[in-house]
Structures are given as structure tokens and as C-alpha cells.
Subunit: 186 residues, 2 copies
Amino acid sequence: MGRPPDPARRERTLARATDYVLAHGLAGLSLRPLAAALDTSPRMLLYDFESKQELVAAVLAEARRRGATRLTENLPPKTASPEERLRAIWAWMSAPERASYVRLIFEVHADGLAHPENYPDQAEAITGWFDTLGATFPDATTGPDDTVTPTLAMAVMRGLLFDLTTTGDRRRTDLALDRFCELLRP
Amino acid sequence: MGRPPDPARRERTLARATDYVLAHGLAGLSLRPLAAALDTSPRMLLYDFESKQELVAAVLAEARRRGATRLTENLPPKTASPEERLRAIWAWMSAPERASYVRLIFEVHADGLAHPENYPDQAEAITGWFDTLGATFPDATTGPDDTVTPTLAMAVMRGLLFDLTTTGDRRRTDLALDRFCELLRP
DNA sequence: CAGTATATGGTACGACTGTTTCAATAACGA
DNA sequence: TCGTTATTGAAACAGTCGTACCATATACTG
């Protein structure tokens, strides 16, 4: 009885909305232009997502999901040395195809700092990409509970990404990672 | 003849507006609340700054100016070793009093990535704080034109600041800097 | 066909935005 | 006091925002 629901529609919209946010950023996001770009209406966006806040939350979750799966697919094998894995992760994160994701991470991080109330746990969720990465090389440590070396390695990655995204100087940032790998060798 | 201009007013407003932006962030900034907090009116803000864009530009320039002078004041002596200066800069940048500045830097960086058109040169100007820091230890290099080690050191700083501002884990980030200093020793 | 639940379009509301317009006030020199 | 210039308030303008309301269309069951 009654017209059957179409749950696929929400998913389709979510996917395209995520593309849109990755392309245009979160900052000036508003329903009407978004809906226009997605061949739908603000009415339907709220019908599927209840409110803009929940839509954004869903988009961030989706972006995070994508990043996670994309990463595990292109992960270097467990057998590789820590240095090889470090280089692989840098290559993966700094690739131009990842620029949108990186941009979104920085945006959520910055907005979360100024307005933590908007990110009950999503800020951590997005920023958690980095943690996910950190977990991929639990070695390269000096001992069993050495959380310091992974922290440092992730900081190098984040910092170089910051540099690369602002200056675009790939050669210099690549060389800086090389230098870090050198330092890391015993 | 005629009433004399009062250029001090603009400066006073700029100073207080900068405080406000440092406290509340750039994201949701709008003239009416800002004016209310500054005991003035949106009318006067535009009278002094022509437009919101130029006001924001002026605020960013002022913030940068403050950061630069604050830094040179607390700079470690030239005679100190690179490691000592590195530690001093980290202590300075990661101090709680600098949290607002750091937050603003990340915010401008993120917004500049998504909307470069809004930052003809100001993005560089703000982000340039880091470059200023980098210039303070031109040694710790392996040679005369080694730009790589400063790049790496700045990346460590940026990355650890990112970590510290999100997780608040000062102990772990401090230890990570210690570890980096160890690695840096020959 | 009627009944029913889902999916839409259209529209309007109230609140906000940056900015402008018009008028009034304030401080000076002559 | 008058002219002149700087300063300020109040209000309005044109636009956008998220969202709610109401009607209609669509797709199914019986």
C-alpha cells in the first residue's frame, strides 16, 4: 500500500553532494546552489537530510568513508619497510587527485578550532584520516609503546601537506620527506 | 577650515576588530555583531574601511604585524644553537597565548585553498608567519643552499601545531619535538 | 476504480547579509 | 555666526540564507 520508498535517491544525492563539497569547499555552501548543481531542489535536500547540518555531517562521513577505502586499496604491503610505507603514504596523500580531500581536511580542522560546537565528533572523524594513516605504520618506533615516532611522522606529513598546498613546490617538499627518511635511518 | 580628521579612530577600531577576529574567527564574521562588540556601527566600519573585504584585509595585516613583532621580541639569541632556537620557536608558537593566532593562520590557509581569489597576496602574508620563522634558523643545514632542512623543520612545527590544536595532547607533541631534535643531532 | 503512502514543486516567511541613501550633528577657521 | 569638512545615526535596499507550509504528482495495493 502506498508508493514504495526510494532509499537509493538519498545515496545518489549524497554521493553527488560529496563531490560538490570536495570541489567547492564547505565554507560558502548553501542549499540552493548545491541543489541546482545536483539537478534537485532544496526541498528534496531537506526531505532526505532533515537539515543542512545533518546533510553536512552526512557529506563529511561519506568523504571520510571514501578516503579510508581509497587508502586501504593503495596501501603498501605489510612486508615493506617503514620507510617504504612512509614514502608510499606521502605519495598517496600528496597526489593531485587527493588535493580536494586534503583541502577539506584542513577546512574542517580550521572551522572546528573556531567553532567546536558544530562538530560533536565529526571534526575528529575527518581529522582522523591522519590517525588512520598513523596506524598503518605502528613500527618505526623505538619500543612497544612508542607513540612519539608515529606522531612525529604524521606531523611531518601534515606539515609538508600544508606547505605543498600553499606553495605548490613539490620538489622542495618531496626533498624534505627524503631528508626525514634519511634522519629516520639508524 | 572644517572639522579636523581623526585618523586615530580607524587605528583604534582596527586594533579592537583584530582582537575580535582573533577571538571569534573569520568564518562567520559579519559587520553588525562586530560593530556591536566594538561599540560602533556598521556605518562607521564602512566609513573607515570602505568595504568588508578591505576591513578583513586590514585585520589580517594587523594580525600579521602583531605576530611578527611579538616573535622578534622573544627570539632566542643568534648565538644559540639551531636546536635551542628550534625549541624556543616551538615553545613560543605552541604557547596557549598564541592559540588564537595559530587558529587564524589555519583558517586563512584553509579558506585560501578553497577560495584563492579572495586572497590576492594576504594568504601568503598570513601563512608567511611560518616563513618568517623559517628564516630565523638558516643554519642546521647541510650546505649553503640547503632549503630542505628548514622546510622539514617548519613542517614538523606546522604538523605538531595541527596535532596539538586538535588533540590538545601537549605531552605527546612536546615529546615528538624532542624526538625530532634527537634525529637532527649528527 | 478508490485508497494510501512517498515524492515533488512552488512559494513565502523571517532573519540575516553588505551596502547605500539621507539627514543630522560636531568641530573647526574666519 | 557662518561656511566647511568630518563624523555619525537611522533606515532602507536588494539580496541570500535555512526552512516550513500547502498543494500536487507519482506509484503502488486492494
